[in-house]
């Protein structure tokens, strides 16, 4: 979209992402035989299927949240969770019934936030490399070694995909790819009991979704909105639109003062991701202390 001339780009890349994840997790299951691996695999695959349907049919704004809620059910049915919600410094809260709602909420949020940040070349996959590896590090810090190992394929698959997705990209993940990455991230957060830490590492994407909802004020697919938040300058830089009806987004904020190239915008998002990844790791150390 933001390139000179006409470029052919393969899509959806979700098929390659899910293939890598499932192959890795099957091998891990052969060694570890854990229900948590099955829960992560099934939820991730369901999210991929939902995204693939959306890639092909272009479903409405409500389809993905509702369908992703169903994709979270295997985690519940396989009992791959602990209903204590852990917070830094202050300990845990035992919420047996409420936690079931949190599981569904988590998969819907992580799936959709990663999908919403998939706006520029390499951003979704690059962002997921940073967020997922920081999540793996926090799992190691918290001595949750088996889940840390289960989480590693997400980071490595994202890294492999990033090679082709980075600017100038040769493949788009599509909804199938973005939902796969987001749902797996959420599933690992639940089975690894690092829900709060996972949310912190995801803050730039959450901010993007928050800005979207705060400005649009309804759940709608971005493809249904006519006004674009950014425009392309003659020298192929992105600048914020002056159209007050256009939604506010993270990219629009980044280019608000100065037009930037797509690659420069991506780098700012990665710096934000590294910052929140650092906060997530600090939070993991804070989990070890009780006030």
């Amino acid at each position: 979209m933001h390139k000179k001339g006409h470029v052919m780009i393969a899509r959806p890349g979700g098929i390659s992402i899910i293939s890598g994840i499932i192959a890795s997790e099957i091998i891990l299951y052969a060694f570890l035989q854990m229900n948590e691996i099955l829960a992560v695999m099934i939820t991730t695959f369901l999210a991929f299927a939902i995204g693939y349907v959306d890639d092909r049919k272009g479903m409405g704004g409500w389809f993905k949240p509702v369908a992703l809620a169903l994709a979270a059910l295997p985690i519940i049915f396989l009992g791959a969770y602990d209903s204590d919600l852990a917070f830094p410094l202050f300990g845990e809260v035992h919420i047996p019934i409420l936690y079931l709602a949190l599981i569904i909420f988590m998969i819907v949020i992580t799936g959709n936030t990663i999908n919403s940040i998939d706006v520029l070349n390499g951003v979704a996959s690059g962002f997921m490399v940073i967020a997922s590896f920081s999540l793996s590090i926090t799992l190691f810090i918290l001595h949750n070694y088996e889940i840390a190992i289960i989480s590693l394929p997400l980071g490595f698959v994202s890294l492999a995909f990033y090679k082709y997705h980075k600017f100038p990209c040769t493949i788009f993940p599509g909804d199938s790819g973005a939902l796969t990455l987001g749902a797996m991230y959420g599933a690992i957060a639940i089975v690894g009991q690092v829900e709060v830490i996972a949310a912190i590492a995801l803050l730039p994407a959450i901010l993007n979704s928050f800005l979207f909802l705060a400005s649009v004020k309804k759940i709608v697919d971005h493809r249904e909105l006519n006004e674009k938040p950014v425009e392309l300058t003659d020298n192929f830089k992105l600048k914020a639109t002056n159209n007050k009806k256009a939604r506010v987004s993270l990219v629009r904020l980044i280019v608000a003062n100065t037009p930037l190239t797509e690659k420069e915008v991506g780098n700012v998002i990665f710096k934000l991701a590294l910052f929140t990844a650092g906060l997530a790791i600090i939070t993991a150390f804070m989990m070890e202390f009780k006030v």
């Binding site: 919420i95 409420l98 912190i200 928050f210 003062n257 934000l272 939070t283």
Partner: protein, 77 residues
């Protein structure tokens, strides 16, 4: 300048999460309602769920205020 504001906003979001955790553990966690027999866990969950939703709404409202304060000049809200 705008990028600096984004980092500040992200840091404030993190602080709000830590404070929210404190409220959840210190206030929400110890709440225990009895007298409903076998429905005690359900009633407890409904009460805690309602308070949690209230806290989430408060979190979003605070975040909206912060967003307007930090980014007002950019978009003339």
């Amino acid at each position: 300048m705008m990028h600096g504001q984004l980092f500040v906003f992200m840091f404030l979001m993190w602080v709000l999460i830590i404070i929210g955790g404190a409220i959840a553990v210190i206030i929400l966690g110890p709440i225990s309602i009895s007298g409903f027999g076998e429905f005690d866990p359900l009633v407890n969950s409904i009460v805690k769920g309602t308070i949690a939703i209230g806290l989430s709404i408060a979190w979003i409202l605070i975040l909206t205020k912060m967003k307007n304060l930090i980014f007002r000049k950019t978009f003339n809200y």
